[in-house]
């Protein structure tokens, strides 16, 4: 048995597999399949200061090797989360990451403050949600935007702060550097890439929001590239995600530069994916006589 523990920004994860925000709810539905401590951590559904109704349906469209979603951050609000979901989650024996989104810097700051007084292990700042009209992604696609909001939230945040980056940018390494210099303790990447599907019968976009975020295996090579670009640019740890669906992908993403991983879309085809990925990863480490998984991080040797 290799050592699967990883530490990201001071937070210990018993293994590097974290459920990606928005794909796992607050965990209750998946607890039917296996104890949630199977996972290294859970990044909760994105929460906002006030309750949000979310976007009208349809919110989902399948694409080759992936899917689009435009859930639009439906959530019960941060207070409800703290009162009703967090206590239960904290009992499950896995690290809990609160994923937050806001319309204004003030909202982000207020949430960070509220969550700083709770038992969450880490705050993941989603400045990359492409599916809401206001806020979210517009902070995440320019260096100035990322720097401004990260600096502001950093002041109010007593927990390790992870900034989640959008792939809808020309130069991800600049954005990563901006997050680092503004005081982020870690980076998570990538969020979804904006896409569209059209129903050729009705001539309407399949998703009511017109566009949605692309996730799943289709995205994987873009995620690997971006994680590696960021890894070569910043010193803070990177939580890598985007289309991981098998243990080989996990190894690849770690080699590219990730210290831990998130998986999302793969839950939809196989709720048991984390169990299989962890088994495969463990066997691989044993076979390769690698004693701790963190020895893989960033070990790709570029040509």
């Amino acid at each position: 048995m290799a050592d699967l523990k990883v530490t990201v920004a001071g937070v210990e994860f018993q293994n590097p597999l974290i459920a990606a925000s928005g794909t796992f709810g607050f965990g209750r539905e998946f607890a039917e399949f296996y104890p949630l401590r199977t996972l290294g951590g859970i990044s909760c559904k994105g929460i906002t200061l006030k309750e949000r109704p979310g976007n009208p349906p349809p919110r989902i469209a399948e694409t080759p090797g992936g899917m689009l979603n435009a859930v639009g951050l439906q959530n019960p609000g941060v207070d409800h989360f703290i009162e009703n979901d967090l206590p239960w989650l904290k009992e499950q024996g896995t690290a809990v990451i609160a994923n937050i989104a806001g319309n204004t810097p003030e909202e982000y700051c207020e949430m960070a403050e509220k969550l700083s007084g709770t038992a969450v292990d880490m705050i993941e700042m989603n400045i990359s949600c492409p599916n809401v009209k206001q806020g979210g992604v517009q902070f995440g696609t320019s260096c100035a935007g990322v720097e401004g909001i990260t600096k502001a939230v950093r002041k109010h945040c007593k927990k390790p702060l992870m900034v989640k980056l959008s792939p809808n940018v020309s130069d991800i390494s600049e954005i990563a550097a901006a997050a680092e210099s503004a005081g982020a303790d870690a980076i998570s990447m990538i969020n979804t890439l904006t896409g569209m599907r059209i129903d050729i019968q009705t001539r309407r976009p399949i998703i009511r929001n017109n566009t949605g975020g692309l996730s799943g295996p289709a995205l994987f090579p873009v995620a690997v590239r971006m994680v590696n670009q960021a890894y070569r640019r910043v010193k803070i740890p990177i939580v890598g995600m985007g289309g991981i669906s098998k243990w080989q992908d996990a190894v690849e993403m770690l080699l590219a530069g990730a210290s831990a991983l998130q998986i999302g879309t793969v839950f939809f085809s196989d709720p048991y994916a984390p169990v299989k990925i962890l088994d495969g990863l463990n066997d691989y480490l044993d076979r390769s006589r690698i004693s701790t998984v963190s020895d893989l991080t960033g070990q790709v040797q570029l040509w």
């Binding site: 794909t23 539905e29 919110r59 469209a61 439906q74």
Partner: protein, 254 residues
């Protein structure tokens, strides 16, 4: 266990019409847990998302589940190619099914096209107290008529082109019927009309909805549908709060 993933052997496969197929799978504990109106998420190789298919029949003694589906795209086309003996990767039983209540009430089950299958198992305990009002495009598209009859239900058929039974809308047939409760599944315009009628007659009515799904268990919030409760509107989720809803809780668009 509320639901789980299982590799289920296909025990039997039949073709019911040119594009509708009928699969019975050995589902062990999933069959034991299943209730009428619930659904399954069936894995299709190479696809990112599972396909939601209603449970059409539950046999607790043989621990089998029955699915009746229409070929609509690549996923259902793949399903139509499977054979008895093949294995399907199934996540089930999912969602909230029909609440049957007192089966001595006079119940009408209104199904349109591929909306018919989910009603079959719900109609069973009602026996001769139930009337199934089934609508199809044409005579060749009629499915499951004999199955409702085997339930002991009365069956009325309507076809769009008049090639069998009543020529026209199923809802025409409802006008002449007397009933205490309505169960419906089918295309949105039909469901709307049924709900309207139920409201007029002041009888309880349960309808089954569809929406594009990812997780199927209520975690991703993908399958939103507009609901109302205590005068407040909100987005519920077809896979968890439904697919069966009380008609009065559903908000129709437009």
């Amino acid at each position: 266990m509320k639901y789980d993933v299982m590799l289920c052997r296909i025990a039997e496969k039949k073709q019911l019409s040119h594009d509708v197929f009928d699969l019975t799978v050995e589902a062990g504990p999933l069959a034991e847990a299943a209730r009428p109106g619930q659904f399954a998420q069936i894995y299709v190789p190479g696809k990112t998302l599972r396909r939601p298919i209603s449970i059409c029949g539950i046999d607790r003694s043989s621990k089998t589940l029955r699915f009746v589906f229409q070929v609509r795209g690549e996923g259902t086309a793949w399903l139509a190619e499977t054979k008895a003996g093949d294995f399907l990767n199934i996540l089930a039983p999912l969602g909230t099914g029909y609440e049957l209540g007192d089966t001595c009430r006079k119940a009408v089950f209104v199904g349109g096209g591929i909306g018919v299958p989910p009603l079959l198992e719900a109609a069973k305990p009602f026996g001769e107290n139930a009337t199934a009002v089934l609508g199809f495009r044409d005579k060749a598209s009629i499915i499951l008529k004999e199955d409702f009859e085997k339930n002991g239900n009365r069956v009325w058929v309507a076809t769009d082109d008049g090639s069998c039974g009543h020529h026209g809308f199923m809802t025409d047939l409802l006008e002449d019927l007397d009933f205490d409760v309505l169960y419906a599944c089918g295309p949105a315009p039909m469901l709307k009309a049924v709900c309207k009628l139920a409201a007029e007659r002041k009888v309880p009515c349960q309808i089954s909805l569809e929406e594009r799904m990812a997780c199927g268990i209520g975690a991703c919030l993908g399958c939103a549908c507009r609901l109302k409760k205590d005068g407040r509107e909100y987005y519920g989720h077809v896979c968890k709060d439904g697919p069966v809803f009380n008609a009065e809780n559903v908000v129709w668009e437009g």
